[in-house]
């Protein structure tokens, strides 16, 4: 490839990266500053339900008269925050067990691996539905249930990537030096598996985000009056049938769904870019 083409490809890649980062930046900033940006309160009710788009209510109001733009800002914030918490928790659980399994090996390793096999044999949405029916749908239950189910996949990856690290001489040296398990986990193994774990974090986040959106959409995830992107779609879905009379009303229920899509697409694109630019990652 000639230098010119290479430079152009690089510039294009950088351009794409800029677009992705700008998009994600805007989404994250609006969600962080939602309470200050939002024109009204999260659960503030106005007298007119299903109001059309207007200067007062840019996206109209929902079925009980709450400002949809406000709900959208708060919903983005809540959805991102909940998915982020669940993903972080999944990585903490899965990462710790994965590292322990790889470092200690033996019966414990096999036992944990078979346990995750069983947990992964049930589709996670179905499993989550079952567990939520038992524990009830609160935000914390939702986060813990999703985190535990996702941690099985994190465990798998952490374990398989760590296998290559635990046989290295420096880990052996640390062992002989008499270092304890936490030290070996955090100082010897963990720093050497960050690259694959980081890209996995992006992919897992997308999956968790979509699962929680689906659960909330089904009415068993985030409960009202807390705003959330998935449940907003369902609450306003009736507006679609008026699309012929007012196209803007028909589009309104799709807006939160499009925000969900924008977030997952841009995070996915970011992970792709990360994987492409970081060619020398182990197992990358």
């Amino acid at each position: 490839m000639s230098t010119l083409v290479k430079t152009m490809a690089l510039a294009f890649n950088h351009g794409r990266l800029t677009v992705i980062c700008a998009l994600l930046g805007v989404l994250v900033l609006t969600s962080v500053f939602a309470p200050w940006i939002a024109p009204y309160g999260e659960a503030q009710v106005f007298p007119e339900p299903f109001a059309p788009w207007s200067p007062e209510h840019w996206l109209g109001t929902d079925q009980i008269g709450r400002d949809i733009l406000t709900r959208l800002l708060y919903g983005t914030r809540n959805s991102i925050l909940i998915a982020l918490l669940a993903t972080v928790l999944a990585f903490v659980i899965g990462g710790i067990f994965g590292l322990i399994a790889a470092i200690l090996g033996g019966v414990l390793d096999q036992l944990l691996a078979r346990l995750t096999d069983v947990l992964m044999a049930i589709p996670s949405l179905i499993f989550a539905l079952m567990l939520l029916s038992i524990f009830g749908s609160t935000i914390w239950n939702l986060i813990v249930v999703i985190a535990v189910l996702e941690s099985t996949r994190v465990f798998r990856l952490a374990r398989s990537v760590s296998y290559g690290v635990v046989v290295q001489d420096y880990v052996e040296v640390a062992r002989l030096r008499g270092e304890r398990l936490p030290w070996i986990m955090l100082r010897e193994v963990a720093p050497n598996i960050t690259a694959p774990m980081l890209s996995e974090f992006g992919l897992r986040f997308c999956f968790v985000f979509l699962t929680i959106a689906a659960l909330s959409f089904l009415g068993v995830g985030v409960q009202p009056p807390t705003a959330d992107l998935g449940s907003m779609v369902r609450e306003n879905a009736n507006l679609i049938q008026f699309a012929r009379f007012d196209l803007r009303a028909g589009i309104t229920p799709l807006v939160p769904a499009i925000v969900i899509a924008l977030i997952t697409v841009s995070v996915n694109a970011l992970v792709d870019w990360f994987l492409l630019s970081d060619g020398d990652t182990p197992n990358g």
Partner: protein, 326 residues
Amino acid sequence: MIALSKIVAGRLLLGIVTLLITSMVIFGAMELLPGDFAQAVLGQSATEETVRAFRAELQLDQPVFVRYFDWLLNALQGDFGQSFSGRASSGYDRSRAVVDLVAPRMSNTILLAGLTAAISVPLALGLGFAAVLYHGSWFDRALNWTVLGAISFPEFLIAYALILLLASLFPVFPALANVSPDMAWDERLSRMALPAASLTIVIMAHMMRMTRAALNDLMARPYVETAKLKGLSRRRIVLVHVLPNAWAPIATVIAFNLAYLIVGVVVVEVVFAYPGIGQLMVDAVTSRDIPVVQTCALVFAGTYIVLNLLADVIAIMTNPRLLHPK
């Protein structure tokens, strides 16, 4: 051939064990219910006798493993117990057998999933093959971008976008898929059109991406290089040299995506109010009707495991290397 049947038998055995353990997990999850859930199901005004009778019906005085084997043996004979809903605090029991609730809805779901599979599998394979045949062309790239988008979208976005276009703006199909058994076939199919279309788009995106990846993976093999050096056309390479080796990954792709269909079906059924097992499960979760949830989970998990098992077995059977052991 003996080696082959041995491997297949081993896989089947493993599948049965997985099914058993899964049933244990699903049953065991019920043990996590708080101790006073009998009161919660019957309502605060339930008398002590009613609660006691309900607890006796659930055999809560028996050890867990006795109840598990009872439950499993009954389930194998098609008895999944009584639903929790319809029970009154007065003790008057109007609950229905779980199997009566699940069975009619299951046939609806199988119909929807079958229709989706019948459309999406040939379409996805055809498009996947075309993408590999015209690798790097505008067609391949356009397909790639569409697929990448469709995968990242939530299922309900695709479903509602279809409703907006084909039911609301241009009323071609009904937005509600409330089919019933006494409906005429054409009416029923027209109501199922949009749910089937949404599911097809979701599944096809995944299936096409994986078919394309599997085929491109094969295209990088040395024997394809040889075929190219012999001067064969790309079409001939793909159809004659690559395809026989591609059946195993393709079978895996199909079974994997039919398993994915299980998750998609839940959301799509709720969007279109289609009376299937997915919607039943969501309703049961909302009303915390545990026996129905358990049964639905068992059905979904069982289908998922069986489909994955099928993919494994087909992959083994179609592997040309295993058919001719050295």
